[in-house]
């Protein structure tokens, strides 16, 4: 069947959706265009059957719609196009996988860090003081507590290990003899390691420098 650029108007003409001006233009057109007239007659025949037998023809679709679409659901459904709904579903599925699958894995896996070139799994300890330069040799070292039944090992370094001690508190007083070996103008660093009651290394702090200024 041949084509005419005006044949898009056929449906709107038959459904009375054209403005009066457009309607008259199209009527004048189909008096001169056998292609449009032939298609219009054929379309009109289909439309007439649909209008008068539609309740029978589309009975299954109507029933399906009544069951599927309550007014509220219909409004919700109309909010997005099916493509957008599909995208939303995929996004929701990905989020679900992340929340249920990936995040628990992240939280249950302990951070990894190195101690003396050995890979260690465990938590970290936050050092409280000293963490910046100090004017005088500090008398006490303090860090964040990891709870009960934890043994801490503190190590103070100059260029090499200067002193090491263990305690179950989250602080320790620097013994006088060690304090006397430390001098102003030097850079020192310290680190704390935590061990469980069974003696397993469970956490390590970073090694923090504290220069003793003059």
């Amino acid at each position: 069947m041949k084509k005419c650029k005006n044949e898009d108007l056929i449906d709107n003409y038959l459904l009375n959706k054209l403005t009066e001006e457009k309607k008259q233009e199209f009527e004048a057109h189909y008096f001169n265009c056998p292609v449009c007239f032939e298609k219009m007659v054929e379309r009109d025949e289909m439309l007439t059957a649909i209008k008068y037998k539609g309740d029978t023809i589309f009975r299954d679709i109507e029933t399906e719609r009544e069951v599927e679409h309550s007014p509220i659901l219909e409004n919700v459904w109309a909010f997005f196009t099916p493509k957008q709904w599909a995208l939303a579903a995929v996004t929701a599925a990905v989020l679900l996988v992340v929340v249920l699958g990936v995040i628990p894995t992240i939280t249950t896996t302990s951070p990894q860090f190195f101690v003396n070139d050995d890979l260690v799994r465990g938590g970290s300890i936050r050092l409280i003081s000293p963490v910046i330069s100090v004017d005088v040799i500090p008398s006490q070292f303090r860090w964040e507590s990891l709870g009960e039944d934890v043994e801490y090992k503190i190590e103070i370094y100059n260029h090499e290990l200067l002193w090491s001690a263990t305690t179950s508190d989250n602080y320790i007083a620097l013994p006088l003899e060690v304090k006397e070996r430390m001098v102003t103008g030097e850079k020192y660093s310290w680190q704390v390691k935590a061990f469980s009651a069974e003696g397993t290394l469970i956490a390590v702090s970073s090694r923090v420098q504290f220069p003793v200024t003059k």
């Binding site: 008096f31 007659v41 379309r43 439309l47 037998k53 679709i61 493509k83």
Partner: protein
């Protein structure tokens, strides 16, 4: 009102015979009637509604008028013959509505979907078309349902089905093509 004269005008020969020949026709009148009578009928039915009992008389009057004017040489070729007949048809429809308005106070409301059950032939045709539509695949049936039965716009149908408006037109045209094939069988 259906006149006695118009009742007897049913064929091309009747219409040509009813025209008082004053000039030798420059046109093949039979061909003009064969080609334009269906178009004029469609336009009249669309404007007046096929429930208007006089619509066939109006069509006959128009065709007689067209031939008379052609014989009198009133068609000078300024426009196409189609436009010439369209103009005569439009004027007669307006006259008819004006006449009816005087009697009925209000003009008859055009019926966009003439009932197919007025003529037994149309009824049968509508039944066959309806059965063919019922046999279409759901995706074609659904588009006919939304576009023609529910009268949603092309864009609304597109949004409901998640396809482009152009695809809606293509699907409607394809459904029509399938129906054409089914009806030919």
């Amino acid at each position: 009102m259906r006149s006695e004269d118009n009742l007897s005008i049913n064929t091309s020969a009747d219409i040509i015979g009813a025209v008082k020949e004053t000039k030798r026709p420059q046109f093949d009148l039979e061909e003009i009637i064969a080609k334009y009578r269906p178009i004029v009928s469609f336009r009249v039915k669309k404007s007046l509604g096929s429930h208007t009992p006089d619509w066939e008389d109006v069509v006959n009057e128009i065709m007689v008028n067209v031939l008379e004017k052609l014989n009198k040489g009133e068609f000078r070729g300024d426009s196409s013959i189609g436009t010439f007949i369209f103009t005569i048809t439009s004027r007669r429809i307006i006259d008819f509505i004006r006449q009816k308005s005087k009697v009925l106070k209000y003009a008859p409301e055009p019926n966009p979907y003439p009932s197919p059950y007025e003529h037994i032939e149309n009824k049968e045709r509508a039944e066959i078309t309806a059965k063919a539509i019922e046999k279409l695949k759901p995706k074609y049936k659904k588009i006919l349902y939304l576009y023609y039965y529910k009268e949603l716009s092309r864009e609304e149908v597109a949004q409901k089905l998640g396809i482009s408006p152009r695809r809606v037109s293509e699907r409607v045209n394809y459904a029509q093509k399938l129906l054409r094939k089914m009806m030919k069988k």
